[in-house]
């Protein structure tokens, strides 16, 4: 209690001091300071800028001192495709309640709605970024927070479109509750460490919903990625936690709910893969725990390349997928156990909830389709079922050791 009172007291005192010390600078088109550029010049470090409603046609606005920039009645800053719009180069900058439009498009320069470069403690909240090349671009930042922003773009092609939230060499970033649509990659991370990505929705992007590489120790929790051109790609990273996300409606010959390439010692838990051409594509990936996920009505629930080893697939639900597991070798170095497979046809005589005969998730037909993709046309044919049944009795083409010897009889909660 004492502590709380003290905190409240400090807050009130701090607030009083702040208001007494520095009058906020008001930017308004009819007022004393009509442009943001001028306000930025006049501001002292630690000042608050309040931008009144209206459209400001300005670009390359450099914030080079710690400031709090607040929008009142959501002012619009329109860059008219001239360059960057807001460039943050100082520590402790807060930006809230703005709308940023039309950063320049270029093949040479990564123009962004908001560029944050070499800073600490940047906070960007409740900002709308419409039709920018890159949305929010963070380079060499530390402890930035990007929260509840709305980003949308209408790029047609990968080359003429930038990423929504782009992080490069950034540490300890928090990205929460953002909405990204129509960019090249919704979220993009390269050489990022310790990021926490939560409750974001990334959809209808041209390439990937999220794309990350060389980004160790990150956490991805409860995000939704749907209907992106290539789904989600996750590469060359160790120690990632991907928990409770939804991957949905990614259709196409190279679209994956999630693509894992060279991911090691990571946890993939309680995610939901629904209606993707391939739910989870795994390549050169080792020592991961894949547990408690649900694969629902995907074309292929898991495509597991044989250069992946020591991954554990436990307690997942595989429901109504056209193919459960596909692989490219007769050898298998991963373990499947205790999953629920809706294609399982075994029985449970001792009634302990675990099927008495092992389940073979790789069907003969899976292999036929790998060899001759045209034979996909014969899916659900009686002939194929007969061939599958024969193969099940005497495996000669399917991997003998890729089995689940504890298949669950009922879907796991």
């Amino acid at each position: 209690m004492k502590v709380v009172i003290r905190i409240v007291f400090i807050l009130i005192w701090g607030g009083l001091l702040g208001s007494a010390d520095a009058q906020p600078l008001r930017v308004s088109q009819e007022g004393e300071i009509p442009t943001i550029a001028e306000a930025l010049e006049r501001a002292q470090p630690g000042d608050t800028l309040i931008i009144e409603g209206g459209t400001y046609r300005e670009y390359n606005l450099v914030v080079d001192k710690p400031l709090t920039i607040l929008g009142k009645d959501r002012p619009v800053i329109d860059g008219e495709r001239q360059g960057f719009i807001l460039v943050i180069k100082a520590d402790d900058v807060t930006v809230k309640g703005l709308e940023v439009r039309h950063a320049s498009t270029s093949f040479m320069e990564d123009y962004a709605g908001i560029l944050v470069e070499k800073t600490n403690n940047t906070l960007i909240e409740d900002v709308r970024l419409i039709d920018n090349f890159f949305g929010i671009y963070l380079a060499e930042t530390n402890k930035a927070v990007i929260r509840n922003n709305y980003l949308s773009a209408s790029g047609e092609r990968e080359t003429s479109s930038g990423n929504g939230i782009h992080l490069w060499y950034s540490k300890d970033t928090r990205i929460e509750g953002n909405y990204v649509k129509g960019h090249r990659d919704g979220l993009y991370f390269e050489f990022v460490d310790g990021a926490n990505i939560k409750d974001n929705l990334s959809e209808e992007n041209i390439r990937y919903g999220i794309h990350f590489m060389y980004s160790d120790n990150c956490r991805y929790v409860a995000n939704t990625f749907r209907d992106n051109g290539g789904g989600v790609a996750v590469m060359y990273t160790s120690n990632v936690e991907i928990i409770g996300n939804t991957f949905k409606d990614n259709w196409g010959s190279s679209a994956y709910g999630m693509l894992l390439k060279e991911i090691n010692r990571s946890r993939i838990e309680e995610n939901h893969f629904e209606n993707n051409s391939v739910g989870l594509y795994i390549e050169a990936t080792s020592r991961n725990m894949v547990t408690g996920n649900t694969f629902h009505q995907n074309g292929w629930a898991i495509k597991l390349m044989a250069n992946s080893t020591d991954n554990e697939f436990k307690a997942n639900n595989f429901i109504a997928n056209s193919f459960e597991v596909a692989t490219n070798s007769r050898r298998n170095f991963n373990t499947f156990s205790g999953n629920y497979w809706s294609r399982y046809e075994g029985y449970d005589l001792d009634r302990d909830g675990v099927g008495d005969v092992p389940h073979h998730p790789v069907r003969l037909f899976t292999i036929l389709v790998e060899k001759q993709p045209q034979s996909l046309l014969l899916l659900r044919s009686l002939l194929i079922d007969i061939l599958d049944a024969a193969e099940k009795v005497m495996p000669s083409l399917t991997p003998e050791t890729l089995i689940d010897d504890q298949p669950q009889m009922k879907p796991l909660p």
Binding site: G252, S253, N298, L377, R380, L383, I384
Partner: protein
């Protein structure tokens, strides 16, 4: 009008035979079991559609031929009456095809009704399943009639052809397709493949089931022609129209045969 009277007689005859109830009961039990054990999700619908693709053509075709043989005397008696042969044919055909399709529809629909599947978002899939079953029943009863009329005096031959025909369309045809794929897979054979599937009504129905339930897998295929066919609305329309065409062919054949035949 007279067709309806004949149809009515046929119906009474079928009811007396109790066959048709058994047929409906089979669907009822299978659907009930599948929904009970597989949940009311897409899994049960998929299993029911598999059963449908298997059972409907077999029963309709065999029963179509068989029924013609059974009611041989009745037909000959009616032929002596001042009746148009066309009327008589439609009466006979309707008298079998309509009860068969109703048996299928009720058998599948009732378990869905009491497990509450009709309120869900699956209603389109369910309607498709019912429509496909009905079309296949009409189609294969037609083929059965055609075979029955072609070998009117030789039941063994007629039934034999019905059985072999079913085996060919349901299994062997796909084997042939698979063989062609593996022999000529390196060539651009996608268009001929699609054409080949259009030539088999069971395959056509299967493709429509695929378009409903496995579209995410179909879209994963790396070929522009399949993707364009399956990805657009044209796929389902083309398949549906081809199935309709298939429905007309055996009926047209059997009406012609029936009109010109010397009983």
């Amino acid at each position: 009008m007279k067709s309806l009277t004949i149809l009515n007689y046929q119906w009474k005859d079928l009811v007396r035979g109790k066959w048709i109830f058994g047929y409906a009961l089979i669907y009822l039990l299978i659907s009930d079991a599948l929904i009970r054990f597989g949940g009311s999700g897409p899994k049960a619908l998929l299993s029911i559609s598999n059963v449908m693709l298997l059972l409907v053509p077999l029963v309709s075709m065999i029963y179509g031929a068989l029924y013609l043989y059974q009611s041989k005397e009745f037909t000959e008696l009616l032929l002596a009456q001042p009746l148009n042969r066309k009327t008589l044919f439609w009466g006979l055909y309707g008298g079998l095809a309509i009860p068969l399709s109703s048996a299928y529809t009720l058998g599948v629909l009732i378990p869905m009704l009491y497990s509450g599947m009709l309120n869900g978002e699956q209603i389109v899939s369910i309607l498709m399943l019912l429509a496909l079953g009905i079309i296949l029943t009409l189609l294969f009863t037609g083929i059965g009639f055609w075979l029955g009329l072609s070998y009117f005096e030789d039941r063994i031959k007629g039934l034999g052809f019905a059985l072999v025909g079913w085996l060919f369309l349901a299994v062997l045809y796909d084997g042939l397709v698979l063989l062609i794929i593996f022999m000529l897979g390196d060539y651009p054979i996608e268009k001929p493949m699609l054409a080949l599937t259009m030539l088999n009504p069971i395959d056509l129905a299967r493709i429509i089931v695929l378009l409903e339930f496995d579209i995410s897998a179909l879209m994963g295929y790396t070929g522009a022609i399949f993707n364009r066919f399956f990805g657009s609305f044209w796929g389902i329309i083309t398949a549906g129209l081809s199935l309709m065409l298939w429905l007309v062919i055996p009926l047209w054949g059997s009406t012609r045969k029936f009109r010109e035949m010397d009983f």
